[in-house]
Amino acid sequence: MVLLGQFLEVLVGGLLAGVLYSLVALGFVLIFKASGVFNFAQGAMVLLAGLALVRSLDFLVARGFPLWSSIILALCFAGVIMAITAWLIERFVLGPLVNQDGLTLFMSTIGATFILEGASQMIFGSDVYPLRLFPTDAWFLFEGLFPGGILVNKLDVWGGFIAGILVAGLAVFFQRTKTGRALRAVADDHAAAQSVGIPISWIWFVVWLVAGLVALVAATVWGTKLGVQFSITFLALKALPVLIIGGFTSVPGAIVGGLIVGAGEKIAEVFLGPHIGGGIEYWFAYVLALAVLLVRPQGLFGERIIERI
């Protein structure tokens, strides 16, 4: 019973942590779906959004604004910053690189990562800034059933809740709105979408903007968890195995991939780690992803890759 309780606790903690990975992975999926760009800069965008949010929030609170209005104002400010970033990236980096191959585009987003990391820290500072938007204490569930109960972090539950709303919102956006439909058309075939009159550069701006806003949401949760700091950019590397497990092109895939990675990683660390030397969280997700790819090269939910000569 003790072992089962511990297992459940690790599983629940892992699943909820996995949802947080999904938040970052979602941004990748959106951009890859719509423009075929593998966006390495997503982690840097989370950093930028987080820094813009926390610095403006601190600024407003210090000026004596009430907390609620300053949170809303800070969120708006960070949203505007992400919109400007989206426009700049579309206009100056990806626009001129239309029709280059995937590797060149990927490398250009690494270049953009350098720019974003440098600029965001130069403008907003490079310390660790604590962010307190969500409660971070813990709940104990099922105390009658298991000795000590199951410890669940409230922040992780909030993260799961927000991810759910975000996915629902994105689904409505993609299925019901005109822009969302245009996005899917562009994702299907650039040239065909252009020929029916869909303005492709506007669509790409919208995609980067949506990815930026997803980054902002991820930043609120991760910033509360870790504090807004440079190491938040490494989240991009954490989100990559989530992506390949779920498939580059699938929003539900990002969520399921996140759950698998989060749970697998925590269970492996707790139950396997002590036997082969700790810290296997560091690579476990990648090896898991490699194993999934060997069975399904396009990930669990990715579109089947069909090649013609």
């Binding site: 593998f38 100056f92 980096v93 001129p96 690189l97 280059q100 995937g102 590797l103 060149t104 990927f106 490398m107 250009s108 690494i110 270049g111 953009a112 990562t113 350098f114 720019i115 974003l116 990391e117 440098g118 600029a119 820290q121 130069m122 490079s126 590397l237 990559l240 195995p241 992506l243 390949i244 580059f248 030397g277 700790g278 810290g279 296997i280 560091y282 690579w283 990648y286 090896v287 992803a289 490699l290 790819l293 060997l294 090269p297 396009q298 990930g299 890759i305 090649e307 000569i309």
Partner: protein, 375 residues
């Protein structure tokens, strides 16, 4: 006019298939090699500008040579065979740590067989080459997924190698001979009774390695194997239909590439760093190598050298400029500015010339052929 091969008649097939068929190329290369092998050590011995101090030799030329070698290895895989790899740093680490183990003696007890593998410390040259060989073997293992996975999916899959080996060399103490700090020291660089100590000697050592492997790579990529790689790169299904075995072509590319990268890793550890930690071969190194290959030019040996030089020297220049100009900026701001400028230059180059410096070079040669006339 400067670069015109008119009048250079090839009368045999051997002459036509020579590695550098144009006389100007041969002369230029011979001059460059003569300068590198004789001129640089002479300048350095007599302290003539720009080699007045050891700085240029030790901090720029030495890493340039080794990273150029690594870039050649990566270019074989990414540029010639089209398999994107983000794990080159791991293969450098495998080369370095295997060479270290072979150089200090291997003792691997195998408990369940009741025996142990024991190899006496090997000479440095043998251990560096064996380091490359180990990297090649691991490269083949991690190349197997490439038979099913393609493109960016493969790139992310190769990150598995990167993170796994980062962890292995950090946590498995056997590889570091149980050094408490986790950092290890290279054995003496003793080749056939000659010990390489001074920066000039180390430079010459690396130069020999780089020259030998660059020529080998150049010959490989224009032969049967190289053409198989390029066919796979351009379209693997079509290549398969023409009778090229993807298994053989892809795995040889992984093996040759990892071998060269592993040798470069061993040199980086033994000759350049001297003592090192796993951090020396992190994902940043992999990205740096990939940048070198892409900025230099995919599918070009010359491009590997150009890219390595550019990516290595750019941050050093960016670091020097503010201090030289005397701009009063805090070190933090300078670091961030470096990031921004480095990123901007990368993006600019990718936009202006997605095919890298190698393409600029061949455009330049075309222009020289007609110079001074426009066409």
């Amino acid at each position: 006019m400067l670069y015109r091969e008119a009048g250079q008649f090839k009368t045999t097939y051997a002459a036509d298939m020579a590695i550098f068929p144009i006389r100007q190329d041969r002369v230029a290369l011979a001059l460059l090699l003569a300068f590198a092998f004789v001129g640089v050590p002479l300048l350095s011995t007599y302290h003539i500008w720009p080699l007045g101090s050891d700085y240029l030799l030790r901090a720029i030329l030495l890493p340039f040579l080794i990273l150029a070698l690594a870039a050649i290895g990566v270019n074989i895989l990414v540029g010639y065979c089209g398999q994107i790899s983000l794990g080159s740093g791991a293969f450098m680490a495998i080369g370095a740590y295997s060479a270290y183990k072979f150089g200090t003696g291997v003792h691997l007890p195998i408990a369940w067989l009741g025996t142990e593998i024991s190899i006496a410390p090997l000479p440095v040259l043998a251990s560096i080459l064996l380091g490359g060989l180990m990297a090649a073997i691991v490269g083949i293992l991690f190349g197997i997924p490439s038979l099913r996975i393609k493109g960016l999916y493969l790139a992310v899959a190769t990150l598995a190698a990167q993170f796994f080996f980062d962890w292995v060399f950090l946590r498995v103490k056997w590889f570091t001979n149980y050094a408490p700090s986790g950092s290890v020291n290279a054995p003496d660089l003793n080749f056939f009774g000659v010990t390489f100590h001074t920066p000039i000697e180390r430079y010459l050592l690396c130069l020999i390695f780089v020259t030998v492997f660059a020529f080998m790579a150049k010959n490989l990529v224009r032969g049967n194997l190289g053409r198989q790689w390029m066919a796979i790169r351009d379209m693997d299904i079509a290549a398969e239909l023409m009778g090229i075995r993807p298994l053989y072509a892809k795995l040889t590319a992984f093996a040759v590439s990892s071998f060269i990268v592993g040798i470069a890793g061993a040199l980086w550890a033994f000759v350049y760093l001297g003592s090192w930690e796993p951090l020396a071969f992190s994902i940043d190194r992999s990205l740096q190598l990939l940048f070198m290959v892409i900025i230099g030019g995919l599918g070009s040996i010359l491009g590997s050298f150009l890219g390595a030089g550019f990516i290595l020297i750019l941050p050093i220049m960016l670091n020097l400029i503010p201090t030289e100009l005397g701009v009063p900026l805090s070190t933090e701001t300078i670091t961030h500015l470096e990031f921004i400028i480095f990123g901007s230059i990368i993006c600019y180059l990718l936009i202006k010339e997605p095919h890298g410096f190698a393409r600029l070079w061949s455009i330049g040669k075309e222009k020289l052929r007609l110079w001074p006339f426009p066409y």
